[in-house]
């Protein structure tokens, strides 16, 4: 980017913000202006609420918005994944219907991929969508669905052809979550929280124009969603980054805080899930374990791992920002984050000793340490297990050959499946 383009852009954004920004307006009302002007998602194409800006120039827009204290578009939760997926694969009708409302925060989304019978093997989804009288009728069950209980729309991966092969029989839909055929029940986890849901479909309906991409082309669409999900799982920045953290006065800020609080509620234990490396030295000093040479070594190993993982993620981002082809470092973030979390849980146990048996107000750090210990096992599973990550790294980054027989060309009807129920 040349300095003059950057300066001109900065001046343009700044002038627009001067004319339009005020904290005394409704959140949605403001975001509509922002989105329609193209400043809400400046990297997006001009035809769809954007300005075709490079990531580097979009950062300039972001800086200006922050500098004046203005509120940005809605960036929390699954809506970001929905928008990215629809931008890539959606029809013009779908883009018109969903993109703007996703950016303004009017709509909330959930992702309906995993099923009780298909976790790592997502393409083995058995939820059926059958065409009947110009509509799709959906029956089946999804699981691990964050925010399903307050979602307006769901990204649905469903089987439309039992006689096609596993991957080719899948299609991708947008489903209205507010209908009688959709039932949402919370799913309680081993750490006591219920951040996810099970979703049951009984003759739920999807209009034809909500098929995303080709009929039978659902796997390619889902892959786009997953790619965006994993990109955000490298441990740099939390889910929902971009939300304002400073407490500001005004109606619009109250509305934004309420939105973030609702969307982020299921993620409140995520810092513990990641291992809370930030607490390790403090805890070691408070307990005196910092003087134990064995504990010191383990702490040092953890800090080396955590710092190296952070730098590796930053290398990947720096290469991306420079427009350089992504090196292997870009695919390692999620696996590295698992290692960090597990190592952190081990060190927290070492530091806490017998107190690691206690939780809640009786436990160290008012129960935070206990929550770390019983939340960390999720890191190496959620969003793609470590084993699947290793397969992806081996096959896509290192170009190692696929397992013979993994390309299943039988009709899905004949593929062995888990018993349901």
């Amino acid at each position: 980017m040349t300095e003059s383009t950057e300066a001109a852009l900065r001046a343009e954004v700044s002038a627009w913000l001067q004319a339009n920004w005020s904290p005394d307006q409704g959140l949605v009302e403001w975001r509509k202006k922002l989105v329609d002007a193209g400043w809400g998602a400046p990297t997006w194409p001009k035809a769809w609420y954007g300005r075709d800006l490079s990531p580097a120039l979009a950062a300039v827009v972001d800086q200006e918005i922050r500098r004046i204290g203005a509120v940005g578009v809605a960036r929390t939760g699954i809506r970001t994944l929905a928008a990215a997926t629809l931008l890539a694969h959606g029809s013009d009708f779908q883009k018109r219907k969903f993109l703007r409302r996703s950016l303004t925060g009017e709509d909330t989304w959930c992702q309906l991929f995993s099923e009780p019978g298909s976790g790592s093997d997502l393409a083995g989804a058995m939820t059926r969508a059958e065409r009947k009288d110009g509509r799709w009728i959906v029956n089946g069950q999804k699981v691990w669905t964050t925010s399903a209980h307050h979602a307006d729309w769901g990204l649905l991966l469903a089987r439309t052809d039992m006689d096609a092969t596993k991957h080719q029989g899948l299609s991708f839909f947008v489903i209205d979550m507010h209908q009688p055929g959709v039932e949402v029940r919370p799913l309680r986890q081993m750490n006591g929280h219920a951040s996810f849901n099970q979703v049951f479909f009984t003759d739920a309906e999807v209009p034809e124009e909500h098929l995303v991409g080709e009929l039978g082309g659902g796997w390619a669409v889902a892959t786009t969603t997953l790619m965006h999900e994993r990109r955000g799982a490298d441990g740099v920045g939390a889910v929902g980054a971009g939300a304002s953290t400073t407490v500001r006065e005004g109606r619009i800020y109250d509305e934004e805080r309420a939105e973030v609080a609702t969307t982020m509620e299921p993620y409140k234990w995520y810092p513990q899930r990641a291992g809370r490396v930030d607490l390790v030295l403090k805890r070691a000093k408070e307990t005196g374990k910092i003087d134990d040479p064995v504990v010191r070594q383990e702490i040092a190993k953890l800090l080396i791992l955590a710092r190296s993982a952070e730098w590796t993620a930053r290398r990947a981002r720096a290469a991306q920002a420079l427009g350089r082809p992504q090196g292997p470092e870009g695919s390692l973030g999620k696996l590295a984050a698992s290692h960090v979390a597990r190592a952190a849980a081990r060190v927290h146990t070492l530091i806490s000793g017998a107190d690691a048996m206690l939780s809640g107000p009786d436990g160290p750090e008012d129960g935070i340490v206990a929550e770390i210990l019983i939340s960390v096992p999720a890191v190496s599973i959620a969003g793609g297990t470590d084993e699947i990550q290793r397969n992806i790294i081996a096959e896509r980054v290192l170009r190692m050959p696929k397992e013979p027989g993994s390309a299943d060309d039988r009709p899905f009807r004949e593929v062995p499946k888990n018993a349901v129920g």
Binding site: K301, I304, W311, A318, L332, A394, L398, M400
Partner: protein, 376 residues
């Protein structure tokens, strides 16, 4: 802090990679490691005539190229990758850096140009038979004698100690203790009273020597009793350089293991198609990339003389030590029986990995040093 190399630095790396691929083949390494000095004088001259590598991090006023530790790190990463047999670590990384950190202006002007030109070879003698790497472990005594000094005692683990024309020695004032009373001295390699014995190294590509000083005449470098800080800085910078060298070697091993897994057929398919191999390769990639990130940060911090540098140097050294050795172990395992043979090249890097694991301090020592540098 930067997280990417500039286009010029990437180009520099490519030039070096091509040069070493041509000149430092495994055959060349095998030939040189069997020789007494361990390197080839003509190739060493080439390295400097064509690439000017001995002066990479030396300011131009002393004849150097005026680059910094990021560029020096690139040189070492590429040398580690190709297992280059040369007195580079001894002369350029250890001795030249020690002179830059500790010598007076006049001494720099006198000592550096021949080293930068690659015409003279120097090394740094600091460790002793005790195996301690820090300055406080120094016992070699420096007694003032008619305006000069006399050195008595034993140094060990001295890189290229037999071949060096100039030996920079860390010694202490008799009766001093710990970090007090330390000074640097220069001694000619052929000085009377100096007995140099080549030790038999586990890694034959890196020659090490034991140096016995019996009333050897020496010249003070820098300030008397003032070597503790410049030596500690030199040690941290050398540790960061060694980390770069190690991640270069680790990456080469990882790639060779991958190539072999793709070629080797068992049970009617390439072993690379077995998930046990894929997961091992993915883990190796992760470990090597994490160690590379640490080495790059340490080099960057050295270049910027960042306050956190001593901690990051130890961090990078510990990470690289573990990653290099682990990668070497995996690489032998992936090769199976052939990996344990002399004819297979893996052991050349394995031995460098094992030797580098303890050289300049093992990972346990550096982890402790890192925590202390951070004030914990």
């Amino acid at each position: 802090m930067q997280f990417s190399f500039t286009a010029e630095q990437q180009e520099f790396r490519q030039v070096l990679r091509r040069f070493f691929e041509d000149t430092s083949t495994p055959q060349a390494v095998r030939r040189l490691m069997e020789t007494e000095t361990g390197w080839d004088a003509a190739a060493w001259r080439d390295l400097n005539d064509k690439l000017g590598l001995c002066g990479v991090h030396v300011p131009e006023v002393y004849g150097g190229q005026g680059f910094g530790f990021v560029e020096l790190g690139i040189v070492l990463e590429e040398m580690g990758r190709a297992l280059v047999c040369a007195p580079y670590f001894a002369s350029t990384v250890l001795a030249t850096t020690a002179i830059l950190n500790g010598a007076t202006e006049a001494q720099k002007q006198a000592l550096l140009p021949p080293l930068v030109a690659g015409e003279a070879l120097a090394t740094l003698a600091f460790a002793e038979p005790s195996g301690r790497w820090d300055g406080a472990g120094t016992t070699v005594a420096a007694t003032p004698a008619e305006g000069r000094f006399r050195l008595d005692g034993v140094k060990s683990f001295v890189l290229d100690g037999v071949a060096a024309d100039l030996v920079i020695v860390l010694a202490r004032r008799p009766g001093s203790e710990g970090e007090e009373g330390l000074s640097l001295f220069s001694v000619r390699g052929d000085a009377p009273g100096l007995t140099r014995r080549a030790l038999k190294p586990l890694d034959p590509t890196r020659k090490i020597a034991r140096l016995e000083f019996a009333a050897v005449e020496a010249d003070l470098i820098g300030v008397e009793d003032g070597a503790a800080a410049p030596f500690a800085k030199t040690l941290a910078q050398a540790a960061a350089c060694l980390a770069s060298e190690m991640v270069g070697g680790a990456e080469r091993l990882r790639e060779s293991a991958l190539d072999y897994a793709n070629l080797r057929m068992q049970f009617g398919r390439p072993i690379a198609s077995f998930q046990s191999m894929k997961h091992k390769q993915a883990d190796m990639l992760l470990e090597v990339e994490l160690a590379k990130s640490a080495a790059y940060q340490a080099a960057q911090a050295a270049a910027e003389d960042d306050a956190e540098f001593p901690a990051l140097a130890s961090l990078a050294k510990a990470a690289a030590s573990e990653a290099y050795l682990q990668t070497a172990i995996h690489t032998i395992q992936i090769h199976g029986g052939i990996g344990f043979t002399w004819d297979n090249d893996t052991h050349l890097w394995f031995k460098r990995a094992k030797s580098s694991e303890v050289f300049l301090g093992d990972p346990t020592w550096h982890r402790e040093r890192m925590l202390r540098a951070w004030g914990h």
